[in-house]
């Protein structure tokens, strides 16, 4: 049985998103609503991508074609969701206000990075689910991949790459929303280009006629490098700094004002 492999890969890909969801999302209904709405927007982008892929018959076997347009559609829908969220600010505020402190804007609305983070995570989780659930479902059974010459690291590589994409989408969400708020166009370009770059890197995972082994490390290592870069940018965008971390580590008393 490959049950161990199955659970190992599931934990790798969905452990961190689960942690994020439990500790930062689950207790707040508004965040759940936004998370699901953003996931829905990602699904819409997938729908459009699929229709395009299905319609352009001659290029169906060309992955690069579908891939490039899929990235463009995802970013378009991220923008649309950003617009929607900003339009819905007022409504969300009313929904989340309770009688007592009606005059104080809830932190979710006042701190724009929170909703950016939630919608980024929504994109990431749905994207991760769609890229890995099929693979995980087929993993359940006595066999593992390889009888047709495929690499035995396929499942682990898929899991790590999925995790990378979940994080990337989260960070992109924070950077992207803030960039639009501030009209900081270079950052938007960074998001778009890095998304395109990481997605194109996954093309290295194909086996082709002149490359019998897929280059998993060649795609995973740059993908993680980009992910960490994005993490740093997002961290500073959201108001973090190295000094703050030091402060946090030194266990100064904190006010649980922002997120919780």
């Amino acid at each position: 049985m490959t049950v161990m492999e199955f659970f190992g890969c599931t934990f790798i890909a969905f452990g961190p998103p689960l942690g994020l969801f439990i500790f930062t999302i689950a207790r707040d209904p508004l965040r759940i609503i936004v998370l699901i709405a953003s996931a829905f927007f990602w699904l819409l982008s997938l729908l459009i991508s699929s229709i395009l892929w299905y319609a352009v018959v001659p290029l169906r076997q060309e992955l690069a074609f579908g891939l490039v347009f899929s990235v463009l559609f995802q970013e378009t829908f991220r923008f649309l969701f950003y617009k929607l969220l900003r339009k819905a600010d007022r409504g969300l505020q009313q929904v989340s206000q309770t009688g007592q402190n009606a005059n104080v804007a809830p932190k979710d609305i006042s701190n724009k990075h929170i909703m950016a983070y939630v919608s980024g995570l929504g994109f990431g989780i749905i994207c991760g689910a769609f890229s890995l659930v099929n693979v995980l479902a087929d993993m359940w059974g006595p066999g593992t991949i390889g009888i047709k010459g495929d690499s035995q690291y396929f499942f682990v590589a898929s899991a790590f790459l999925t995790l990378c994409f979940v994080f990337l989408h989260t960070f992109w969400g924070v950077i992207f929303f803030n960039a639009w708020d501030k009209r900081h166009y270079p950052l938007i370009a960074v998001v778009l280009c890095s998304h395109m770059l990481v997605s194109c890197l996954t093309l290295l995972n194909q086996r082709t006629s002149y490359r019998s082994e897929p280059l998993y490390l060649a795609s995973i290592i740059p993908a993680y490098v980009i992910m960490f870069t994005m993490a740093v940018i997002a961290f500073y965008t959201a108001g973090g700094s190295f000094r703050n971390i030091m402060t946090a580590v030194s266990c100064k008393k904190s006010s649980n004002y922002i997120v919780d």
């Binding site: 899929s70 804007a105 659930v133 009888i147 995972n205 194909q206 703050n244 100064k252 922002i258």
Partner: protein
């Protein structure tokens, strides 16, 4: 092929959702390779035992080990560290000894046997192989409890090892597709599993196979039938069905119920219709019993031309041709026939002027059975008789033998009598003699002592083994009319049989022109053994049925009672054609019994092709050829247990387990390195726990970590107060 692409999976998963017929490749197709050229050993049950094979509900997984030599086998048993294994065996290794060694070692989870008859290197036909017992059908024969029991004098099936009657708790398959077998050997075994030349085993990943062959029934037939009956839900399952089918019979004189039909006035000419092998749908049965079936049918044809002469004579004896089914499973057909005869229910359980006169055991004056005929010992046929009855009715038997020998001489068939003290071989007539000892009976067979057929009831009882296959220089389109050596010999045998029966019936030597048709024998051998899509079978069926004839030979296995065998129908029609009358002025629409006449059956046959035309000369045949039940008296007609007959223990109690539509499959795949699996799991756990801890801390300290943001936002907070 593409191994992995993130977006391909994104897109393809959506396609699956939308039921598009895109070219999406599922990961499953890269993990598993399904093996479709297969045939499985399945489970059968009798009153006390279960035999055959089954697997776990989800299939048995074993590491593929190719056994082509004794060394390979020993390596698996002595060294092989990756148990359980699934042995991929050659036909020459697949013998009882080896199978039992594997079974008892406990290191085996299934067996696959290569069965590619066209490929002599991958499938060598072994010198002898019979899964039947060495003393077949002993328990239900006539010698149980006599001095002749237990095959003391002759072990009939000397090569029989009884593998068929062994209970295996793992599946056994034969593989019949050459490219799949080659893939399994080359890409699975050689590439991943073959031990190093110094005998050390290979490391992971290993190539394994999942053999699924799940049988529903267990323990014995009584248990599974009771379980079938004890169901409360609305969608009941069936666990097993009794074995059985129909016997075919026809009489020459067609005596109806009101006419005189004195005792000792019927000659029974019988042949067995069925055989078995261990594997589903592989029942070639060339010697056992196509040779006998064809010989008796050809004799019926020859006699059919003289039926008016026999009918015209008042003193002549009637001839009852019977083809018995289920004989390989403890004489199902013959025991039922005898059971019905004892109760005046044969041919039909009705009486009246419009029915055939019932035939009872007292009506039988002679019994002639043809057994296997193709491999002749000393190039002769042999007459077997029963030494017990011979003590009392030696005169009748001796005279039968004399007549038979004379007929043999006339037809240039070498025929001799075996040692008189030798008991009868397994034969249907034993069911009759068991009930009524004094019937003069002869069994004509091709063996003097042990069976000359080395492949009795096995998958190797092939047309090529009985000299009935075709030389290489003969075009496949000419096979149908090509007279093989076997066809020539069988024609002579049929002539002898026909003349012998005529002589017994008329007590007079037959006319010189009474002889079997070489053409018919040739055609029948082709149709039964090579392809049912032949002109002869098309002629005897209606246009609708002839379209559905299968390209591969029909199985000679009796099967379960709820399914009717094609072979039975075809033999009924052939016999009908040969002993029946062609009716003039009938069309396919009015070719039915007039009024209440149940003596005859009316069969519409589309007839032979007209010359230079695609239309056919259809004909209506009026014939006594018909079928009677061949279901063991231990079972009722609806598949339940008949309590009295069951308890008597005198009747066959075989049942076949049922299985679900998806219960049989084979798939190949790799099993991963357990270390890699553990590492994956540990990494997963570490990441999971670490991320939970980090998320918790981050969330707690968020206000500190993102303090810059607080400062930045705090001023703007007030501006958000709704007005």
């Amino acid at each position: 092929m593409k191994t992995r692409n993130y977006h391909l999976i994104l897109l393809s998963s959506f396609c699956i959702l939308c039921h598009f017929q895109g070219k999406a490749v599922r990961t499953k197709n890269k993990i598993y390779i399904s093996i479709d050229g297969r045939s499985s050993c399945f489970r059968r049950l009798n009153a006390t035992h279960q035999i055959g094979c089954t697997s776990e509900p989800n299939g048995n997984v074993g590491v593929v080990h190719h056994i082509s030599t004794e060394d390979d086998l020993n390596w698996l048993l002595d060294k092989g560290p990756h148990a359980p294994y699934a042995a991929l065996m050659h036909s020459t290794n697949f013998i009882m000894d080896n199978v039992l060694r594997l079974k008892n070692s406990g290191k085996i989870n299934g067996i696959m046997v290569i069965h590619l008859l066209e490929n002599k290197t991958l499938t060598e036909i072994p010198p002898a192989f019979s899964p039947d017992k060495s003393c077949p059908l002993e328990q239900y024969g006539m010698y149980q409890g006599t001095n002749y029991s237990g095959c003391h004098s002759v072990k009939w099936n000397a090569d029989g090892h009884g593998m068929m009657f062994e209970d295996f708790d793992f599946p056994i398959f034969i593989l019949t597709n050459q490219s799949e077998v080659e893939f399994m050997i080359e890409e699975c075994y050689r590439k991943f599993n073959q031990p190093y030349s110094d005998g050390n085993p290979r490391g992971y990943p290993l190539c394994a196979v999942e053999l699924k062959d799940r049988m529903d029934a267990a323990k014995d037939s009584e248990t599974c039938i009771r379980r079938t009956n004890h169901q409360q839900n609305l969608n009941p399952d069936k666990y097993c069905d009794p074995l059985g089918d129909l016997n075919v019979y026809a009489t020459i004189k067609a005596v109806n119920n009101t006419s005189a039909y004195p005792a000792k006035s019927v000659i029974v000419a019988a042949a067995r219709m069925d055989s078995f092998s261990m594997f589903d749908n592989v029942y070639p049965s060339a010697d056992n019993h196509v040779s006998g079936i064809v010989a008796l049918l050809a004799a019926a044809e020859a006699l059919g031309k003289f039926k008016d002469k026999i009918k015209g004579s008042i003193s002549s004896k009637d001839i009852l041709f019977t083809f018995l089914n289920g004989e390989a499973f403890d004489y199902i057909g013959s025991s039922r026939l005898v059971y019905d005869m004892q109760r005046n229910q044969f041919p039909l359980p009705f009486s009246g002027a419009t029915y055939l006169h019932p035939v009872t055991l007292d009506h039988i004056s002679h019994f002639v059975e043809v057994n296997q005929l193709a491999y002749r010992d000393d190039n002769k046929l042999w007459i077997h008789t029963d030494p017990i009855s011979r003590k009392n009715i030696s005169v009748e038997i001796d005279s039968m033998i004399e007549t038979l020998k004379a007929c043999g001489n006339k037809s240039q068939v070498g025929i001799e009598e075996v040692d008189q003290s030798q008991p009868l071989p397994p034969a249907s007539v034993q069911s009759f003699l068991k009930e009524k000892l004094f019937i003069p009976a002869v069994v004509i067979s091709d063996h003097r002592r042990e069976f000359t057929n080395k492949y009795y009831n096995s998958r190797f009882d092939l047309v090529s083994q009985i000299n009935a296959s075709y030389p290489e220089n003969v075009n496949q389109s000419d096979w149908y009319d090509y007279v093989t050596v076997q066809a020539q010999q069988l024609t002579k045998v049929s002539t002898m049989l026909a003349r012998f029966l005529y002589n017994l019936s008329m007590a007079d030597s037959p006319p010189d022109n009474l002889s079997a048709s070489k053409k018919s024998v040739t055609h029948m051998l082709y149709c039964f053994l090579i392809s049912p899509q032949c002109e002869l079978f098309k002629e005897i069926l209606t246009a609708d049925f002839s379209k559905d004839l299968s390209a591969a030979p029909y199985p000679f296995y009796v099967g379960v009672t709820i399914v009717n065998n094609h072979i039975t129908t075809l033999i009924e029609k052939l016999l009908g054609l040969y002993v029946g009358y062609k009716m003039d002025n009938y069309t396919s629409d009015n070719c039915v019994q007039p009024g209440s006449d149940k003596v005859y059956q009316y069969m519409w046959m589309q007839g032979p092709l007209l010359e230079n035309s695609t239309s056919r000369d259809g004909k209506c045949i009026r014939t006594t050829s018909n079928t009677s039940l061949a279901v063991s008296p231990a079972f009722t007609a609806d598949g339940n247990i008949d309590e009295n007959n069951w308890r008597s223990g005198r009747y066959s109690a075989w049942a076949e387990s049922s299985w679900a539509a998806d219960a049989i499959s084979i798939r190949l795949f790799l099993i991963p390195n357990p270390q890699l699996e553990i590492v994956t799991l540990v990494i997963g756990m570490v990441i999971l726990i670490l991320s939970f801890i980090l998320c918790f801390i981050f969330n707690k300290k968020a206000s500190v970590i993102f303090a810059n943001n607080v400062a930045e936002n705090s001023s703007s907070t007030t501006s958000h107060v709704p007005s």
